[in-house]
């Protein structure tokens, strides 16, 4: 019989793989940010599984990995906010949601800038 922690542990590693795949394969930047968050949530879930396995001393879950995950969630949100702001600014400058490796000459042309 499979245990709850093994079950969630395996699903967390699948989530990491899925997120990584989306990050590599999807061409749209916003979707990449989304995939990155999926990847991150898989890692956090793995921490949760490790915390649950460390239950003891009257606690149902080891509090140290839990605290690390809470820290991680806040940092992930801050990083996502920064990435989204960068992306929106890029769109404002170029009118296009581009990927970083695009060799399109039009984006290197002086963009209509808001700067005076």
């Amino acid at each position: 019989m499979i245990s709850t922690t093994t079950l969630f542990g395996l699903s967390s590693v699948i989530l990491v793989g899925l997120g990584l795949f989306g990050l590599i394969v999807n061409p749209q930047p916003l979707r990449k940010i989304l995939a990155f968050n999926l990847l991150g949530s898989g890692v956090f879930l793995l921490f949760g599984v490790i915390a649950r396995r460390g239950a003891g001393a009257g606690l149902n879950s080891d509090p140290v990995p839990q605290a690390l995950v809470i820290t991680g969630l806040v940092v992930a949100f801050a990083a996502t906010a920064l990435a989204v702001a960068l992306l929106l600014r890029l769109f404002q400058e170029t009118g296009q949601a581009i990927t970083l490796d695009t060799e399109d000459p039009s984006i290197h042309a002086p963009a209509r800038s808001n700067d005076p």
Partner: protein, 97 residues
């Protein structure tokens, strides 16, 4: 069958039901249909969370459900607004000058 067991079973049932409703998000056809399915998923998720938490006597679940309800309300309205006025866009404004 004890009450916690029944509550757990009900949680599984509600989750499975609203998951089925996710098909409507895929199929659409109109924007409103997708919103409805998302809304149903949110409500069902909260119900499942409550059932699960009470069944396993995890009291903090009420707080989690409260936060979910607050943020889901905002998210669904933001979603409806964003979807029904695609021009909910400030950047265009600064561009068109």
């Amino acid at each position: 069958m004890t009450i916690p067991d029944l509550l757990l079973a009900a949680a599984v049932f509600v989750l499975a039901t609203v998951a089925l409703g996710m098909v409507r998000i895929l199929r659409g056809p109109a924007a409103a249909d997708r919103m409805m399915a998302a809304q149903l998923f949110g409500t069902g998720g909260i119900a499942a969370l409550l059932l699960l938490g009470v069944a396993t006597e995890a009291n903090a679940v009420l707080d989690v459900a409260l936060v979910l309800a607050l943020l889901a309300a905002f998210a669904s309205v933001a979603f409806v607004q964003g979807a029904s006025h695609p021009d909910g866009d400030d950047s265009k404004e600064t561009h068109s000058e």
